[in-house]
């Protein structure tokens, strides 16, 4: 009877709770939000078609689910926390707790019901996500097979545990405090920690130690999943299901245990006797003061408060209410700590020092989530507090004008935002001090925080206040606020990039240490003015709509004359600012001109048919380039000497120009223009008399760029850069000659290599140029119209800047208030050069074997000396290994980061400000500096001696040799251990990046423009080859290859030539296997299965090893096929101190070894020098176990 009644009671209690929650609009609002989020996100990603990554692959579903988990704190707080607070808030707690209800039925069941309801509401994302991925019209490259098991697995492994965790902690916060604000604050703290963790682990470069730590410490399992999938290929990302094992299992177990612990602790502490719940004696209300004669004096005289003093006093009151609360103090304390950790994440941006700009950039990523969440929570708290407390009707009956209520609360919100930004300034300065960095730049910090990043948050605060007033429902207003803030996602998916449509967005502007904001602030502040006008109107409307009891104001009819004038003025300001913006972004400048992708596609579509037409090559270049940084333009007057090397008479000369470049004049001897496509930069000239084979002719031309007019709509979402690669900027310009001078003939530079992108743009599959076929070894790689020749370049710039160019410096002079430089160069790629202009500080190292000149931003003098020394050392190293330098001096030049490129022409190395110049001077930072210098120097060294052919694999020559040579230098500079760490880090970084590429990994011999493969895979293969044939043999092969092609125009060098040189220096037995390294996509996975120790003879030991060695050949997007191991695998037997007792090898095909060792072995390490490229190195080392322990099953 009791059990049946008990079960029935439980059902009834649960039914009541479910009914309560389902009748609340907030359930349907939360359900709707997540359904919409899942749908919009899936549809948006599927429409964009991000390469081959299936948006509905198992790993992507897991990742997306984890991201949504961050928002699940909203669901947990809205239901679980509310269920703890509800009774106290309405005043019914005493009534219920005075009944004989048990704690389990009252508290436990209520939590269970709230948790299930929250889970149900949050689960709205699932049908939304599925529906979004099933919509018609999505990119076929983005959608894989429907994997129901992936949705189920992610729900069980991610959604359910994550919601358990956030619910348990919401419960732990709300139950003792009886406060929703405390619960929301806890949620914000969780988000703070999470964002700080993401920044700490690294945005661009991963800190793997931090990743290991956070794979356990992260309650949402993002890093645990990242650890598991770190080295997955694209194919594996698309097909494999993440497993509940390793760190993911540990993470789930840890956090579910912590959640259960928190829940149990709170549950047990909850006292069913309200008066003693907190362990203190019942609080006696303050006794009223002793009664006495009532004062009957007349009230003191008082005047009317002025409008400003009213507003000031009311705002101070509202602000003090916020700032004095314990919750805010807790948030502030956590925010300080989190910001500090977030600042530490700045090192992941190319090992940057903690300069102000990079710290603000890091902090802005933090604020995008945290400050936004704070505004959402506090706006709701400020706008609904009076109703929740029960004082609303009293206040609304006072003669206080409605604007006072609105503006004072808005002022409090603004104060919270301002305080956070000020706090950020202080924390970042403290962080800089802790890192020994003392260039504080408070002006820049304040400007970036308040003028650049800050306005958005103030706009959001206004929107929040307006929505709460207009919508008159707390959670509906919050939902609408979130929707408006996230509206950018679907708008971008629809191609509506204009900032005028994205609430509060003011354009993307970047800060350059050299070039400041580069004129981008003009447009930016017009957007700020526009949104400020919009917000002004919203504020007036909020004041007019402020409720007085149940009276609904009629906005226009009840508005005072002043309000109407303000509204009209605001509307006018919106039209004026908006009109000016539209004029600049759509009339003065083309709105959404085709970006790089579309331009390249259209160019190829129209002109690829001319690819195989024979064209002359440039054998001599003479050009005068006048750069005008103060006006942001240049003009180039040039002359080419063209030579017909095609072997047949030429009747046409085709000329192409880079986007944004104007060709204002072109004269070709004896030719007339027959076809012009200025929109695409393609021109066809017909020669009156065909140019015979071997003959030369001259072409003169004038190219220019225009000074910018007005401003453009800058957006992260469209394909338009802030500055084009051939834009002259105020300080720190770098102009690359193919972008500023005409190109002869069709160029493959513009062609998209990625198969998915070609299909998306309607282009046919790419046909690679084959050796021997037209366009094969007879054409230079990359810049195919420039061959072995000469260049004479004169560059001028403004009087306050220094021009720099590659080549032998002939003369510097001043003339007409400008600075001039003339240089000359001869040899391969002489017609390819880069021109620089900036307010440089110059340093010269004349006493190095090869003189080094540095041209750098004055603020970056700290690293310049180190970089100069390292460059001199590298040059000496290269000279000893690879022969004399092909240039007489080295230049290292800094420029603004916009082109996104590096340069190395004729010994003048161009490195943007974001790389190396401001790297930290710790071990990792200095290694990064060496890496970049070695990389660029290598490029300059090879390309100063040889021309690679336009053939598959040619990119590998310069990329792999540069990377390999740099590692040789590192090996000499560091000890073995340090170098091993670097190598292992390189390997991890490579395979992590490989899992995110948008192309199928080609074999080295098939590489087109895949720099990642050419550089890092090529380097690893060379190191593997070195391990097989020895360093002297490999270096001899490389020297032979260089010597074959140095000083010769044709035949151009190919990867096949390098390969054959290496094979010639390899033992016969190894040649087929080394040959395969160039033609297969190879990686390895080795594992020590067991290492068992037993006593040997005469005090020695016997070690029995079982190993598994795998050579993996990848096909397609990374589907890996096992194949026979090709090379012997080194094995180190080490003692307890890590010293190597014995090194032996595992022969190909061998799986078991029986080794006699003198000295007690402690561990076994396969591939101790990390020469075999392996995505997963976790099984390479193992402790040696005594045989007796193994037999005992220990």
């Amino acid at each position: 009877m009791c059990a049946a009644a008990s079960y029935g009671d439980i059902r009834a209690l649960l039914r009541f709770e479910f009914g309560y929650h389902f009748r609340r609009p907030v359930f349907w609002v939360v359900l709707g939000i997540f359904a919409l989020l899942g749908f919009a996100d899936a549809y948006s990603n599927g429409s964009r078609g991000n390469a081959f990554f299936f948006i509905n692959s198992p790993s992507q579903i897991f990742q997306t689910t984890i991201w949504y988990g961050l928002f699940s704190v909203l669901a947990a707080t809205a239901f679980v926390a509310e269920s703890c607070v509800r009774d106290a808030r309405v005043g019914i707690e005493s009534l219920i707790l005075a009944t004989p209800v048990s704690k389990f039925r009252y508290f436990g069941l209520r939590f269970l019901a709230a948790f299930l309801v929250g889970l149900l509401a949050f689960s709205g994302y699932l049908p939304g996500m599925i529906a979004g991925s099933l919509m018609p019209g999505l990119s076929p490259y983005a959608i894989g097979p429907f994997r129901a098991d992936a949705y189920v697995a992610s729900y069980l492994l991610i959604t359910l545990p994550n919601l358990c965790v956030v619910s348990a902690f919401a419960f732990a916060l709300a139950a003792p405090s009886r406060s929703m604000v405390v619960a929301y604050a806890g949620a914000i703290v969780l988000v703070m920690i999470y964002i700080a963790a993401m920044l700490l682990v690294g945005v661009e470069q991963l800190d793997y130690d931090m990743l290991d730590l956070w794979s356990l410490a992260d309650p949402f399992a993002y890093f645990a999943l990242e650890s598991q999938t770190l080295a997955w290929t694209v194919h594996q990302h698309n097909t494999l299901m993440p497993e509940l094992s390793g760190r993911l299992l540990a993470n789930r177990a840890l956090w579910l245990t912590l959640a259960a612990g928190a829940w149990l602790f709170t549950y047990r502490r909850f006292d069913m006797r309200p008066e003693r719940r907190d362990g203190k004696p019942a609080r006696t209300p303050a006794q009223p003061p002793a009664g006495g004669a009532l004062a009957s004096r007349a009230p003191p005289p008082a005047g009317r408060a002025s409008t400003w003093s009213l507003l000031w006093s009311a705002t101070c009151f509202e602000t003090s209410m916020v700032l004095r609360s314990r919750v805010f103090l807790m948030l502030t304390a956590c925010g300080l700590v989190s910001l500090f950790f977030a600042a530490a994440g700045s090192r992941s941006f190319e090992h940057s020092d903690p300069s102000t700009d990079i710290l603000i950039h890091t902090a802005s990523m933090y604020f995008d989530y945290v400050l936004f969440a704070i505004i959402v929570v506090y706006a709701a708290e400020l706008m609904w507090r009076d109703r929740d407390v029960g004082i609303a009707s009293v206040l609304q009956a006072t003669p206080a004008p409605s604007w006072l209520f609105v503006l004072s609360r808005l002022g409090a919100l603004f104060a919270v935002i301002t305080l956070n930004l000020l706090m950020c300034m202080a924390v970042l300065a403290v962080y800089q001090v802790t890192q020994g960095y003392y260039r504080f730049e408070p002006g820049l910090s304040a400007f970036m925080l308040f003028a650049v990043n800050g306005p958005y948050f103030y706009f959001i605060a206004v929107l929040a206040v307006f929505l709460h007033v207009a919508v008159r429902h707390k959670y509906a207003a919050i939902a609408l606020l979130l929707l408006i803030a996230l509206l950018q996602i679907p708008l971008d998916a629809m191609g509506l990039h204009h900032k005028i449509l994205h609430f509060g967005e003011s354009g993307d502007i970047g800060y350059s240490p050299m070039n400041g904001f580069g004129g981008l602030l003009n447009g930016y502040f017009w957007y700020v003015a526009y949104w400020a006008a919009v917000c002004g109107v919203l504020v007036v409307l909020a004041c007019l709509l402020w409720p007085r009891g149940a009276v609904r104001p009629r906005v226009w009819r009840d508005a005072s004359r002043r309000s109407r004038l303000l509204l009209a003025g605001g509307a006018l300001a919106i039209c004026a600012a908006g009109g000016w913006i539209v004029y600049n972004t759509a009339v003065l400048n083309p709105f959404e001109p085709p970006g790089k992708d579309l331009t390249g596609a259209q160019f190829e579509r129209l002109f690829k048919r001319y690819e195989h037409l024979p064209m002359p090559v440039v054998v001599d270049t003479r050009v005068a380039v006048d750069m005008h940084p103060s006006q942001q333009r240049f003009v180039a007057h040039g002359r080419y000497v063209l030579e017909n090397r095609s072997g047949r008479p030429l009747t046409e000369v085709h000329v192409a120009t880079y986007m944004n470049l104007r060709l204002t004049r072109l004269d070709l001897e004896g030719a007339r223009l027959i076809e012009a496509h200025p929109q695409w930069g393609y021109y066809i000239y017909r020669l009156a008399t065909p140019l015979p084979p071997g003959a030369r002719t001259e072409m003169t031309f004038v190219t220019r760029s225009d000074a910018p007019r007005g401003f453009r709509n800058q957006s992260d979402s469209d394909d338009l850069p802030l500055f084009a690669a051939n834009d002259v900027v105020g300080n720190g310009s770098a102009l690359y000659s193919p972008f500023i001078l005409p190109v002869i003939g069709y160029t493959r530079l513009v062609e998209h290599q990625e198969a998915w992108k070609r299909a998306k743009l309607g282009l046919p599959p790419l046909q690679a140029a084959q050796g021997g076929a037209p366009g094969g070894p007879q054409r230079p790689h990359f810049v195919s119209h420039v061959v072995w020749g000469a260049a004479d370049v004169t560059v001028s710039t403004d009087a306050d800047q220094t021009p720099v160019a590659s080549g032998h410096e002939l003369k510097r002079w001043q003339q007409g208030g400008r600075n001039y430089l003339r240089v000359r160069s001869e040899g391969p790629h002489a017609g390819v050069f880069t021109l620089y202009s900036a307010r440089y500080r110059q340093q010269v190292l004349e006493d190095a074997a090869l003189p080094v000149e540095l041209f750098h931003h004055p603020a970056h003098a700290g690293n310049a000396a180190f970089m100069g020394q390292q460059l001199a050392g590298l040059a000496d190293f290269y000279r000893k290994r690879f022969g004399a330098a092909p240039f007489d001096r080295l230049r290292l030049v800094e420029f603004a980061y916009y082109p996104g490129m590096v340069f190395w022409d004729s010994g003048t190395l161009g490195l943007p400000e974001a790389l190396a110049w401001k790297a930290r001077r710790d071990a990792a930072g200095e290694d990064a500096i060496v890496g970049w210098l070695g990389y660029l120097l290598g490029h300059a060294w090879w390309e100063g001696r040889i021309i690679a052919a336009e053939a598959p694999g040619s990119l590998v020559i310069r990329e792999s040799l540069s990377a390999y040579a740099t590692n040789l230098y590192r090996r000499e500079m560091h000890g073995r251990e340090r170098f091993l760490q670097i190598k292992q880090g390189q390997m991890r970084d490579f395979f992590r990046a490989l899992g995110r590429v948008d192309f199928a990994e080609p074999a080295l011999a098939d590489v087109g423009n895949e720099v990642l493969i050419a550089r890092y895979k090529g380097q690893m293969m060379l190191e593997l080859i070195e391990a097989q044939i020895g360093q002297p043999a490999l270096l001899a092969a490389i020297r032979q290859f260089l010597d074959t092609h140095s000083g010769a125009d044709r035949p151009y060098a190919t990867l096949a030539g390098l390969r054959d040189a290496i094979l010639a220096h390899s033992p016969d037995a190894l040649r087929p296997r080394i040959h395969a390294l160039f033609h297969d996509v190879v990686s390895y996975r080795h594992e020590v299965v067991s290492a068992t120790l037993s006593p040997g003879q005469a005090g020695a030991y016997r070690l029995a090893l079982q190993v598994r060695t795998r050579r993996l050949v990848a096909q397609g997007l990374g589907r890996q096929i096992d194949s026979a191991m090709d090379f012997p695998l080194p094995v180190d037997i080490r003692d307890e101190s890590g010293r190597t007792l014995l090194r032996t090898t595992v022969a190909p095909g061998q799986h078991a070894l029986d080794i006699a060792v003198t000295g007690r072995p402690h561990s076994v390490v396969l591939d101790p020098d990390a020469v075999f490229p392996s995505a997963d190195r976790s099984g390479l080392a193992r402790r040696v176990m005594p045989a007796t322990a193994v037999r005992a099953g220990l």
């Binding site: 209300p285 303050a286 003061p289 005047g303 408060a305 209410m321 009707s393 003669p399």
Partner: protein, 286 residues
């Protein structure tokens, strides 16, 4: 002077909360009696500019309250039946904030005014305590204090003594008695004792209508000689022919009061009419 003309209000659920309320109130305490749901609070909220009637007019010292609510609020002090206070704010600070909302300035003047009012309501010694620790009576007195800011011409006080202990209720009654002066005090309650102690005029509302109105003495005079008191056993049914004003069971005996022009029967004796009788005869069904 408060003039309410033909005020009507029907809510969306069909309930007629105000049914042709028509009354002029001179300075003094007007006690508004009525059972729950009679429309007292609806009338209060309408007078406090927190809701609009369907028809009718309200003028306070010549100001059209419905057309010029902002102006009217300067002349009104309002204390609703249920209200809250910020728990972590002191009484002084809360009162100053109310003074701010009522346009009092500068800051010093608000402070002085708050001091004065706290003394007036006998909360001066508790001025620095947080409101979260105040007793019910203290909260009500603070509520009165905020309603007095700006020396309003109309004080609207809804159920001020509900839930207070006898000591607190007496203190509050004493306070309210001091307040009338030259202003209209509209005091709504269903505790007849409050009206008896304070009101110079009494009104009784039932189902949205003002069914009785007058000075207490006059209303009592209407019942003089017509109220009869008797006893009967607790379980005995009431005679349906008698106009029963009220009945009370004490110790197993029913004490019945009946309205009749003559003695209704044996066991009944004449009784002095009181305001309870006025209330029950006004709201009772015949």
């Amino acid at each position: 002077m408060l003039e309410v003309r033909h005020l009507n209000k029907r809510y969306a659920n069909g309930v007629k909360a105000l049914d042709d309320i028509d009354v002029r109130l001179a300075p003094g305490v007007f006690g508004l009696l009525g059972p729950n749901g009679a429309g007292k609070s609806s009338l209060m909220r309408t007078l406090a500019t927190l809701q609009l009637p369907d028809s009718g007019s309200i003028r306070l010292d010549g100001v059209d309250v419905l057309a010029h609510p902002d102006e009217a609020r300067k002349r009104i002090g309002y204390l609703p039946q249920e209200f809250g206070l910020y728990p972590h704010v002191s009484a002084q600070a809360m009162l100053e904030q109310f003074a701010l909302y009522k346009g009092v300035g500068p800051a010093r003047a608000r402070r002085d005014l708050a001091h004065h009012l706290l003394q007036q309501v006998n909360l001066y010694d508790a001025r620095e305590r947080h409101l979260g620790g105040f007793s019910g009576g203290m909260r009500q007195r603070l509520g009165i204090a905020q309603a007095l800011i700006g020396d309003p011409a109309l004080l609207i006080i809804d159920e001020p003594t509900a839930g207070l202990d006898p000591g607190e209720r007496m203190r509050l009654q004493n306070l309210l008695a001091e307040l009338a002066g030259e202003r209209v005090v509209l005091l709504s309650t269903h505790i007849v004792e409050d009206v008896q102690a304070l009101a110079t005029e009494v009104g009784v509302m039932r189902a949205g209508r003002l069914v009785r109105r007058g000075r207490p003495a006059d209303l009592l005079g209407e019942l003089r000689g017509r109220v009869w008191s008797g006893r009967q056993n607790a379980g005995d049914p009431l005679d349906p022919d008698r106009h029963v004003i009220s009945r009370r069971v004490l110790g197993g005996v029913q004490h019945v009061r009946v309205l009749a022009d003559a003695c209704p029967g044996p066991g009944f004796h004449a009784a002095d009419a009181d305001l309870d009788d006025v209330f029950f005869t006004a709201i009772g069904t015949h």
